[in-house]
């Protein structure tokens, strides 16, 4: 095994890590806000990927230009999910919250299979294609663009949450729902906003990776599983934790694939999750 292969794998892992980080950030934001894990997060991502695919196939719109549409659509889906389902189970036992979002996940996944069949679909000729070479290392251009896009979106999200008034109001709601309400923050709207933004995160990620990733009804499962692991590792509710854990998971995946076996790359990530939560149950940067 040459040094180039290892470096190449690690850089690919790093690129993948930025995508995982954005997906996890959306999940983490919602959890931080109301302590609910959205088990339909991967299915939201799947919907974004299908949207991108159909916009390309039916209207010839390139995945790059589908991003704003996906953001808007997923934001709406997130808000509708909040008002339709989540608002009613805010104070319900944890199990009810789990089954509600799991039910939604199963529903969306089978709906996709019902409407669009279980076929694997590919966007065959996106604008961003081919590969680039940097110091003897070859990288797929779609991968580089997707990762850069996700990192950029993550930056926006971080800025929004920490530097804008609405973002601060979100944080206040996350810290103390009742006190925030007394300060004049409409907490229900904040929850809806949180769901909208959380879903929009996978809207961006889904649109970006559609240019090189297969689109099929079950595609969200692995991204969601990795996002749960990322969020738990980074600490529920911590954005920076999601970023660092996302990158770590991308690197572990790449290293595991070349050092052990590609078949076990996710297994190794899951093992790392177990080790982290057993040694430090709050996750690396957790508040909870």
């Amino acid at each position: 095994m040459t040094r180039e292969i290892i470096i190449q794998a690690l850089i690919s892992g790093l690129l993948m890590g930025f995508i995982y980080a954005l997906v996890a950030a959306g999940l983490s934001l919602i959890f931080g806000l109301m302590e609910i894990v959205n088990f339909a997060h991967g299915e939201f991502m799947m919907l974004s990927m299908y949207t991108t695919f159909w916009l390309y196939t039916l209207f010839g719109l390139d995945p790059l230009f589908a991003i704003p549409i996906c953001i808007a659509l997923l934001f709406v889906i997130g808000v509708v999910t909040h008002y339709g389902i989540i608002r009613h189970i805010l104070d319900a036992p944890m199990l009810v919250q789990i089954t509600a979002t799991f039910g939604l996940a199963i529903f969306l996944r089978s709906l996709a299979q019902f409407l669009w069949s279980a076929d694997y679909r590919v966007i065959d000729d996106p604008i961003v294609s081919g590969r680039i070479e940097i110091w003897g290392i070859y990288l797929g251009l779609p991968q580089v663009v997707a990762s850069a896009g996700c990192l950029l979106a993550f930056g926006f999200l971080y800025y929004f949450v920490n530097r804008t008034e609405t973002g601060i109001a979100l944080q206040a709601t996350a810290q103390d729902r009742e006190a925030a309400g007394l300060m004049g923050i409409q907490t229900d709207r904040m929850f809806a906003l949180g769901w909208g933004i959380g879903a929009a995160c996978v809207g961006v990620a889904g649109a970006l990776i559609s240019s090189y990733y297969m689109v099929f009804p079950d595609v969200g499962i692995i991204f969601a599983l990795l996002a749960y692991v990322t969020v738990a590792m980074g600490g529920f509710g911590s954005l920076i934790g999601a970023l660092i854990a996302g990158i770590a998971i991308g690197l572990i995946e790449a290293a595991g694939a070349i050092l052990v076996s590609p078949a076990f790359k996710y297994g190794i990530i899951f093992l790392c999750y177990l080790v982290v939560v057993l040694l430090r149950p709050k996750g690396l940067f957790g508040r909870f």
């Binding site: 089954t99 039910g103 996940a105 529903f107 999750y273 177990l274 149950p281």
Partner: protein, 336 residues
Amino acid sequence: MVTEGSDTRIVTPRRLGGRIPLILLSVAALVFPWVFEDAHTQHVLIMIFIYGLMALGWNIIAGYCGQISLGQAIFFGIGAYSTSFLFANFGITPWIGMLFGVAVSLVVAVGIGLPTLRLRGHYFAIATLVIGEITQTIFINWEYVGGATGIWIPIVWDDPWYTFQFHDSKIPTYYIGLAFLTGGLAFTYWMERSKLGLYFRAIRDEPDAASSLGVNLGRYKLLAFMIAATFASLAGSQFAQYILVIDPDTVFPLLLSILIVLMTMLGGLGQIWGPVVGAAVLLPISEATRIYFGGQGGAEDLMIYGFLIVIISVFYPRGLFGLIERLIKRRDNAGS
């Protein structure tokens, strides 16, 4: 702060109308295969028994003890693989294989439970979920037990009770399934009335108070987890002997772990009959939609499952049993 499952109370058979319905139900279950002789109806009942048993186990760890395991398929798969592997490779009767499966499941349950049951809430749920995924990956890549293709149990026509293969009729499988399910129900019934059930519910509703009163949280959570594993393993063994072909995708999938959860929720969490009622409602729906849509793999049955479970979670979090109980209460109030 609402504690987990604090709104689940016990519905005893008496409150649902005394012993007579129970006796009627038993008689109906016993004569059923002689009245409905078509293979398809019997098949649906057998599936209800198998999944119902697994869901009964999950009800004990989650419904009574409050620990949400999303990895029950691990034990279902171990049960299925144990009987199949021992019979296919060594000709050992599946009855022994079944016991072997339970033994392995118990060891694995201790191995998983000891570290992870210390985790609270979502961390435990996600831990069991990822361990389930790891287990499936291991079996897909474990060539010694058949890898991704799994195990085809050799078909033997002689001595059906030794080989646990009934090719002429579904009736023996039906009664075996019914017997195990009855055993599971009886165990739950006994447990609910024993100190054990009290400890489990205390751990679910008030873990800190239970601990301060001397309930060993770790030990009893582990015990509940082991009971759940045993039920799932027994169900898995029966499933393997009924279908006769198993592979990692059919006996270890995440979806199976989730379906068990959905069934229990639908029927009524922490209710003796909840899991069985849930299985008895969901599985016929699934079969009916599969027939209606012609089994094109369009996942219509899962679409209905998903939709139902969202509705149940949002509007009737106590399941069908909660609904029935509410109706009965209303009737009683109107009567008095």
